[in-house]
């Protein structure tokens, strides 16, 4: 089976969700949905052996074969890792949601449709080889994220958060699209693999840096990097399973995926190394620092996610350095790549479990406000254990997997100090320092999260609900994740061999031939190294800060509200909205005449200007046919009839004059050898006049409604401009033919090819039958429209009360 089709499996399944939800009330819809990611997860496991050998497999779905557009899915180490995370965490999240969302009170059909849609979108991102299909799936994740954040759409905060995330991520997506288009122009291909293959021709190109920055904007907005992270905390309005899935484990990692995927192409650029590493570190620090300020459990986790994403981002930046150094130094930067992927896995595990426990606390106590919580340890022992494991892993303590990747991270940051190129010699020292400070705050918020919730004494005022331990089903998913967190600590090299190294090979394309060449061996104890000393320092300072938290937490209040990035976003939105409103009010007067004037004026102006700018105005007197007495007479009659229409005092006179114009046009058709047209025009005029007479009883008399002279003069100017333009167009269109007319072909083949004699009719029914088909469709629609307006007067009278 072609695995490319499996990407769409969730989407297809989503079609059945509303049906299942409607028909089968007794069973929670989630159970049916649960099957999908589990099947996919098991299916993708098959590929592990292949990627462990460094192989890549593709699967093609030809979409528009005639244009050679096909959808190509690629599975290599990197996309396989992401696919497994998406389906694996997806399974656990669906399982968790079955117990989290009540089957009677929640609109489960919406929820699971969005969730499955997201799954397809995410799989599409990580497996697409075509940049445009990648972009489409990318935006689909934004849309499904928007829908899921706004899931409780009656809440103001949900709608606000949904819109904010949409605005920021779609903005980034569009920038990224621009970057992709530039890339495809430079590399002359839309395939990511071919683009990487053409890297040499792209790197020297003028647009290279621009494309790089645009693509990074996409990655940074999606992965909530500074200063775009502001949407993530607001996205926490989504149901907790969504936060665990989209906003920590998968979707926000799409940006990291993108950076990893394009590393082989952009790593040569100084801008790339600086931006990715610098923004990553800044985000790491910023997120961890502000996480301590938060009081909402999910907000703490949101900021911690921001910060952890920054950590992985900075590692990805550091891994790009591997392309610039040779020899023994290079190995350290290859460690960075390993660390990035390894931490990505670890983060998905511990953050998923933490979000789930935060959800459990919310579900069982009725609040997420950390100031009201405390002392839940004895009531919810299992939840506490899971939260403890997750937090300690996040803080980077043994024996949890986070410790291992945190050590690797510190190693990489220390190595940047010694990097020679790109001014790193001067500024490199900052990297380990910022990393260390950020790690201290990470330690503090990890402790803050788990101990303020579960340890200490119960608060005096009662919680909204009587707290109790969550049901087994709800605990199942977080417990599985927590077990993995501990498990990975003891088998890091097996995980490394199976998942991390194949991904590193895919990411640092060209540096390795086989995953086994990635010479990284992870061990919990590697001697008394600077990294270990730094970790000890983190623990000491972190513990001190945690214990004295109450004293310095007030420092956060110094920052005034109006100086925050959120305030900037708000004022931008308000300014944009009111500005646009004012602008549109300025030119949208509500009068159709105004709009028509715009159109006519622009038609006249643009056409005339272009005629003369392009030197397109040519009058070829020689091509004109001789004056024809009948023609001139008809012309005079026509002009007189037009004048009558213009100056008619009664409507009857106007209609008759209009008929006169029509008949003179028919005469022209006779003169210019168009018998079909003449016939048609004559009949049409007759029927039209009859139609007008029939409608007369409903029409008002001809009135001028006090049109002033100035008003008429304005109309006259516009009308004259259009008239002159049309005369010029007619003259120059007749005088020059850019390409020979197809008419000759019609004349020659009408008998041999189409077996007809009347060329006009053969064109209508045969050569250009498509046009005719649609034209009669238009006529039919006009007929239905007339019928509808008259016969189907909807019961407006009854409904009109609603509008009052």
């Amino acid at each position: 089976m072609e695995f490319v089709l499996l990407i769409f499996l969730p989407l297809v399944a989503a079609l059945f969700v509303p049906l299942l939800y409607k028909r089968i009330k007794n069973i929670h819809t989630g159970w049916f949905v649960f099957v999908i990611p589990v099947i996919l997860f098991i299916y993708y496991l098959r590929f592990i052996e292949m990627t462990m050998n460094g192989n890549v497999t593709t699967s093609t779905l030809s979409w528009i074969p005639s244009l050679d557009i096909s959808f190509i899915a690629v599975i290599d180490g990197l996309s396989l890792l992401f696919s497994l995370l998406i389906t694996g965490i997806g399974s656990l999240v669906v399982l968790y949601s079955i117990f989290y969302l009540d089957k009677k009170q929640e609109k489960l059909n919406n929820f699971y449709v969005y969730l499955l849609m997201f799954m397809t979108a995410m799989l599409g991102i990580v497996q697409s080889d075509h940049v445009i299909s990648l972009y489409l799936f990318w935006e689909l994740t934004s849309i499904s994220s928007f829908l899921l954040i706004g899931y409780w759409f009656t809440r103001d905060r949900s709608r606000f958060g949904a819109l904010k995330s949409m605005m920021i991520t779609v903005f980034g997506g569009l920038m990224m699209l621009g970057g992709f288009v530039l890339l495809s122009i430079m590399g002359d291909s839309y395939s990511i693999r071919e683009l990487i293959g053409n890297a040499d021709s792209i790197i020297g190109h003028d647009y290279f840096t621009l494309a790089l920055v645009l693509i990074l904007l996409g990655a940074f907005t999606k992965s909530a990097q500074f200063p775009f992270y502001i949407w993530l905390p607001d996205a926490m309005e989504a149901p907790t399973p969504v936060s665990a899935y989209l906003h920590s484990a998968t979707m926000v990692k799409a940006g990291l995926y993108l950076v990893a995927r394009f590393t082989p192409l952009f790593a040569f650029s100084e801008v790339w190394v600086w931006l990715v590493t610098g923004i990553g570190l800044l985000t790491l620090f910023w997120g961890s620092f502000f996480a301590v300020k938060q009081t909402d459990l999910k907000a703490i986790l949101a900021f911690s996610t921001v910060s952890q994403l920054g950590l992985i981002m900075s590692l990805l930046g550091a891994s790009a350095v591997a392309y610039h150094v040779d020899g023994p130094d290079a190995i350290i930067f290859k460690v960075a790549a390993f660390a990035a992927i390894f931490h990505l896995i670890n983060h998905a595990m511990f953050k998923g479990s933490l979000f789930m426990t935060a959800g459990i606390v919310d579900h069982e106590t009725g609040t997420r406000d950390i100031r009201k919580l405390g002392g839940l340890m004895s009531i919810m022992p299992v939840s506490f254990t899971v939260a403890f494991i997750g937090s300690m892993s996040m803080a980077g303590l043994p024996p949890f997997s986070g410790f291992l990747s945190k050590e690797l991270f510190l190693t990489s940051m220390l190595a940047l100090r010694d990097f020679e190129l790109f001014n790193f010699a001067t500024w490199g020292i900052l990297f380990p320092i910022i990393a260390w400070i950020a790690s201290v705050f990470t330690f503090v918020y990890s402790f803050y999260f788990v101990f303020k919730t579960f340890a200490g004494k119960r608060k005096r005022q009662p919680l909204p609900k009587q707290p109790k331990e969550a049901p087994v089903g709800m605990l199942l998913s977080p417990v599985i994740l927590a077990t993995l967190v501990v498990g990975i600590f003891f088998i890091p090299n097996i995980v490394g061999k199976m998942f991390v190294k194949p991904a590193v090979v895919a990411m640092q394309f060209g540096l390795y031939n086989h995953p086994n060449e990635v010479a990284v061996h992870v061990s919990a104890w590697h001697g008394l190294t600077p990294e270990l000393l730094m970790t000890l320092g983190i623990i000491a300072v972190g513990a001190l800060l945690f214990l004295t938290m109450k004293r310095w937490q007030k420092l956060y209040e110094i920052q005034p509200q109006y100086l925050s990035l959120n305030a900037l976003y708000d004022s931008l939105m308000i300014f944009g909205e009111s500005g646009m409103n004012r602008l549109s009010r300025f030119y949208m007067t509500g009068l159709i005449r105004t709009y028509l004037i715009y159109m006519f004026a622009f038609i006249a102006a643009i056409t005339t200007i272009m005629l003369f700018v392009q030197d397109a105005f040519v009058v070829d007197m020689d091509s004109f046919s001789a004056l024809n007495a009948y023609g001139v007479m008809t012309a005079i009659i026509l002009v007189l009839a037009v004048c009558m229409v213009l100056f008619a005092k009664t409507r009857l006179a106007a209609i008759i004059a209009l008929g006169g114009v029509g008949y003179s046009v028919a005469l022209f058709f006779v003169i210019y050898k168009a018998p079909d047209l003449a016939l048609t025009q004559l009949v049409i005029e007759t029927v039209s006049v009859a139609l007008f007479l029939l409608a007369f009883k409903f029409l008002p008399t001809l009135k001028r409604h006090g049109e002033s002279t100035a008003f008429r003069f304005g109309n006259f100017v516009i009308a004259a401009a259009v008239g002159v333009t049309m005369t010029l167009v007619a003259l120059s269109a007749h005088s020059q033919k850019l390409i020979p007319s197809i008419s000759e072909y019609y004349k020659e083949t009408v008998f041999t090819e189409a077996a007809g004699g009347n060329i006009v009719n053969v064109i209508l029914v045969d050569y250009r039958g498509f046009d005719t088909l649609f034209e009669i469709a238009v006529l039919a629609i006009a007929g239905i429209g007339v019928y509808g307006m008259i016969r189907l007067r909807l019961a407006r009278k009854e409904n009109s009360d609603e509008n009052k």
């Binding site: 007067t589 509500g590 009068l591 159709i592 005449r593 004109f624 046919s625 004056l627 023609g631 012309a635 026509l638 037009v642 229409v645 213009l646 106007a654 209609i655 209009l658 114009v661 046009v665 022209f668 210019y672 050898k673 168009a674 025009q681 049409i684 029927v687 139609l691 409608a695 409903f698 029409l699 009135k703 001028r704 409604h705 049109e707 109309n715 516009i718 009308a719 004259a720 008239g723 049309m726 005369t727 003259l731 269109a733 008419s743 004349k747 009408v750 004699g757 009347n758 060329i759 006009v760 064109i763 209508l764 034209e775 238009v778 006529l779 006009a782 429209g785 007339v786 307006m789 008259i790």
Partner: protein, 113 residues
């Protein structure tokens, strides 16, 4: 002859636009009628007015009038009839609803924003 035709096309368009911009519904309908006549003649003139014989195959004739513009105009005539009928009904229904045919009074207002 093309020169005369171009002038006529200009006059038709001018009159049509002038009528369409006026305030009375009925005059707008008249304007659309003139506009389609202008467009038909424009297409005809663009193709050239030469040709001594109608585009129907006949023995010994080689100088046919250009059939393509004629085919285009033929459908355009029928469609413009459909459109005229549609606008006519649209306008008289509007008149019946609002009791006015003054375009100035039929202004979208801010309440519906």
């Amino acid at each position: 002859m093309e020169f005369v035709m171009s002038i006529i096309i200009g006059i038709l368009f001018m009159a049509a636009v002038y009528l369409i911009l006026s305030r009375s519904l009925l005059r707008i309908i008249l304007g659309t009628g003139l506009l389609s006549h202008g467009a038909h003649l424009l297409i005809l003139t663009m193709g050239g007015l030469g040709g001594t014989s109608p585009p129907v195959l006949a023995e010994g004739v080689t100088d046919y009038a250009d059939p393509l513009p004629q085919a285009l105009i033929l459908t355009a005539i029928v469609i413009s009839f459909g459109v005229t009928a549609f606008i006519l009904v649209l306008f008289y229904r509007t008149y019946a609803e609002h009791q006015t045919d003054n375009m100035n009074l039929m202004k979208g207002n801010d309440e519906h924003d």
